[in-house]
Amino acid sequence: MAQANQTASMNTAPFPTRFAYARSEDQGAGREAHHPVVVIGAGPVGLALAIDLGQRGIPVVVLDDADRIGDGSRAICFAKKTLEIFDRLGVGKPMLERGITWNVGRVFHRDAELYAFDLLPETGHGMPAFINLPQFTVEAILVAKAKATPGVDLRWKNRVVGIDATSSGASVDIETPDGLYRINADYVVACDGARSPTRALMGLDFAGRVFEDRFLIADVRMIANTPTERWFWFDPPFHGGKSALLHRQPDDIWRIDLQLGWDADPEHEKRPEIVGPRIARMLGHDRFALEWVSIYTFQCRRLEQFCHGRVLFAGDAAHQVSPFGARGANSGIQDAENLAWKLAAVVKGDAKAALLSSYDVERGQAADENILNSSRATDFIAPRHAGAKRYREAVLNLAVDMPFARRMLNSGRLSTPTSYDTGLSTPDIDSWTTATRPGSPMPDAPVVRAGGESDFFLAMLPATACLVVFGPAPETPDDLAVLRVGTDIVDCEGLLAKRLDATPGSAFLLRPDHHLAARWRHPIHDQILAALDRLRGKA
């Protein structure tokens, strides 16, 4: 996908980032060990999946070919839904503590500011729209959590070199410093990144588009009092005819993206004596140090199917997007959350294997949405023909004072969760006024806990299916968690009822991933049972 070039290393994270290979008891055991789930790849997606499965009581082996966290310039923007998932997994707090919060973006054309936008204009949410935190810190926090999660077996310097899938499982061949060994699994999840060796070993096609442009991605260290906002320039005086992005990271590190054009020579552009002056022109000074420099060509591609029998694909292995919109890691972590509860239910025998096909449907829909948004943004930033260039110029020109044109101006549509069109949802029978609908992620709201402490609604939800009821609770099955608004939590500002259009007697059936499965004004027991059956893939 990309050629990255290390010009300096940066490893300020207090979490360990290098790990030792250790021989596992599966090696040289004389027989092939069997595991319910094997995850290939300890990137953000594989790690989040392993932690989630471990917390659901499913033992999982994670194989990674490296023995360290890959540093360099990759993801920095982690979105609200991802932070909510991290919070459920128990790592929301360290992420928020280490990250820096931002909600505001500004767009400039030539030397003038065109407009500013606020990604989270309303209050009453536990998580910000985004934090900026380098991917290697996110991974380091996830590794620490995975190691502390019972049932998660992380194996470094375990490179997958072969896979043999059957209708009842898969065998995985692994290369280690001690030689080859083989393990068997009921399910294998390939989270092995955009170049996915698993995908290649299975001969699967990864189809899509390459954007014919090159981008310089640099992380620089400097002291600056520019606010924590996303600044995007079209055709700035310091980088004529191209685009530029400046975004703050923690610890006085700044991310810079500069469009170079398709004709740029990556080897030449990576040289410090070329990069340095380019960035000095942008910043207006040379009081900075280069931490990392990479040149990327971006692509948008996906696997047609994410489920191939007992081998499932998640994250960049399943789909790849250009980074405008921060939809890569954010969508991959939502793949992990979508898959974890389903795979756990199937492995435990609580649901039929057919439930997994909803993973393909729902996350396939999300991948299409992310690819569409990322492609449109990339096409706007790097227009492909004269007509496109002319219309972009017209939009930039009109955006100065015409609000409609600001809505067309596209410097990246930042990651938001997908509302699933899915067979797991129960169609509405009552009428509702909200944009939230069955399949949508639940909105957040401030609440007060039974003990009197302030908290947020999403943080109160269990990791299982749950019925949220306003007013008297209907009769429910014993194994269904119930959260009573007014008793278990108080809707202190009335925002929860408002955001859900809830009235006394309303009930909302939530999925384990906190998307809405069903809602009623006055449910009866049978309706709840039928909706639960649907949610478990039995209907």
Binding site: Y391, E393, M408
Partner: protein, 63 residues
């Protein structure tokens, strides 16, 4: 596909045509194209209907 009105809707169609053409007076090829792009975007927003917009694009492309 949404029905595209193709009957005349102007009280004075000659004036409408002249207004558009006159706006290009004295513009270079490039300026004229840039002007049209701005005008198309403004008009598209006034229409505010993706189905009609697509029908109009289709009608213009077919010729």
């Amino acid at each position: 596909m949404s029905a595209l009105p193709t009957e005349n809707r102007f009280a004075d169609p000659d004036a409408a045509y002249a207004a558009i053409v006159d706006a290009h007076e004295g513009l270079s090829e490039a300026e004229s194209a840039a002007f049209d792009a701005r005008l198309v975007l403004i008009l598209a927003n006034v229409i505010g209907d993706l189905a009609i917009l697509r029908a109009a694009i289709e009608a213009a492309r077919k010729r």
